[in-house]
Symmetry: D2
Subunit: 202 residues, 4 copies
């Protein structure tokens, strides 16, 4: 529920009280609900596990309603989000083809006119999983962030220099607690910035 | 409906003093003043010209006080900024060594403890000038943005996919009006997001 | 000093024989035939036109047999190549999803064991087309090059800082002669380096 | 000894024989000496230790004469190299300002005319050290490689996806044996490709 809906909800008659409530809510930080969309591709389950961590971290922020799902099917899912966090396995130093196609579909399938910047000012962030320490995780995260910044999204990191990441190869199989903590840190950070930008976008 | 309209809508009668105060502050825009620091390196004057355009664009936003200067000398200049826009000539696909040293000095000279993220949540952006169309302007801008995002700044573009840029070589000498317009667009966009984030960071 | 200059240098008296030797060596050097694979994705025909330019440029090098085709269907096409030049339209600062999937298929479909580096020491290069000057062409080319370098290919540019590129949007519709010249320059450069590396890999 | 020195050495009178000798040498692969320059910046000694590993790895290749030194002082050092491997600590996701200035000096101090591509076809590679796993090592290595590819150098990796790297921060202080092994692998790989390209550049 955004501020305008909130206002409609409490109604004109209760305007004063509601404003007080908003003032109070400010102190609590509760009145600003944000919709954090976590979109990811996962084959082995590792990226999915990270996605769950990201979603949990986002929910730690009062008002954040994180939706973790395989892929947003509709343009409406994207447009309704206040923040979008995209996760991918790393294939050859970049996001998976499926994830790149997810972005391409904003243009090719959802027909977002590029010049309208439909995703403008939504918060964007990235997380990845990959088989070895120096195998392209950073370049994959920056590739995801670049796909967002050209759409005039507001980019943040969290959990690591460029976002959250996990090494899943022979050196360190699966997702360990430390890696999961970076996922949670990313989700929390994105939700916090989404609250800030939504609250500030009055 | 923005906040000001909302406030008018709920009515003066229920406004109380606090609402008047908010309304007044809002109307003046004075309550949300942002300090946009434009820091650049320039040898031929091209990057300086772009910097002036960026600063002018920032000032179009009510409340934005853009400071365009060669280099912030003190850590205080950096810490006092709500947004930092860094400009560089492109040398070999990256920012100039002087600009890289400017960033390094956050660590080496200003002794910002990395783990404290002193620049956290400040808005960051980039602009560059370079001698040919495909000569590393994008990679130079992403390098500047990467230096910011690892410091947990909030990254935005404007004027172009990654920021504002100008081709100054034989194909298109100097800074033309179209390029200057991208500089202004960047400055304005950064100031707008700085206002949003400052207003939302209550 | 190249070989011909060297031969002149060692003296006229020995020039004939040595030149014959060179001729013979060259004739043997005709035996240094290289197979330059140009693989691209094209929707509007712009990238295809650039691909043709790349292929023509490659064929200017004696011994180079450039194969320009939509996509190599089999692992054998890839393994038979001495050089691979990949072209893509730029979508959101990166190669198209189809092109990323082309790379992913080395792993997912062709089952090249990563640790064997099946493409090792083949020459790799990139070309792209995109709708505006600063729209991610450089980041798309570096993404293609990164997908190659992790496979231990030998990376070169040509025609531009990172490879050949063309702006096809409203500012400069279609592929003009200057852009086509960068495509040819790239093809030629890659074929030259492929000849060098093949000749040197005795 | 490079080819020209070789030629001077055998003398005009023996030009033909020397060609035979070269032919013979071909079979042995022994006559191809390469000069691998390792240039690095180091404050704590970590990058220096990696540089030593890189140099040792290069020397494992017959004919490779690796020179590891702080910084090549003269343009001649650069021009005499068959391969250049640049190492840097990672500051804020990029090479150190000192290393960027090293590259800038090709233009600003050594006055290499950009259009002449003085470093063309020399083999280039990168190694870095940094304080945490996901702290910009990959982006720093790609930045070094980008500075080389725009100069039409021939880029290779080794020891890792983009080059050799070591994590030196709290998680893994200093340079361990595994990291040193990646340094050696990089040096060896670069020397091997330098031999191939020199042997093939007849």
């Amino acid at each position: 529920m955004n501020r305008r809906e909130l206002m409609k909800d409490v109604g004109i008659a209760t305007g004063a009280a509601s404003l007080l409530a908003v003032g109070a809510a400010r102190a609590q930080g509760a009145a600003v609900a944000v919709n954090v969309l976590v979109a990811y591709h996962s084959v082995t389950g590792n990226t999915e596990k990270m996605a769950q961590g990201v979603a949990e971290g986002a929910k730690e922020v009062p008002g954040a309603n994180s939706l973790s799902k395989m892929w947003a099917r509709t343009a409406d899912d994207l447009l309704a989000a206040n923040a979008l966090i995209v996760g991918s396995p790393v294939y050859y130093t970049n996001m998976a083809g499926e994830v790149k196609t997810f972005f391409d579909n904003w243009l090719l399938k959802h027909k977002f006119p590029f010049a309208e910047f439909k995703m403008r000012n939504k918060v964007g962030a990235a997380f990845v999983t990959g088989g070895a320490i120096s195998n392209g995780k950073e370049t994959a995260m920056t590739a995801i962030l670049n796909a967002m910044i050209i759409n005039q999204m507001i980019i943040v990191s969290g959990g690591g220099a460029f976002g959250a990441s996990a090494t899943t190869g022979p050196d360190s199989p699966g997702i360990d607690d430390k890696e999961l903590a970076t996922a949670r840190a990313l989700g929390k950070r994105v939700a916090e910035v989404a609250v800030i930008t939504k609250r500030g976008s009055v």
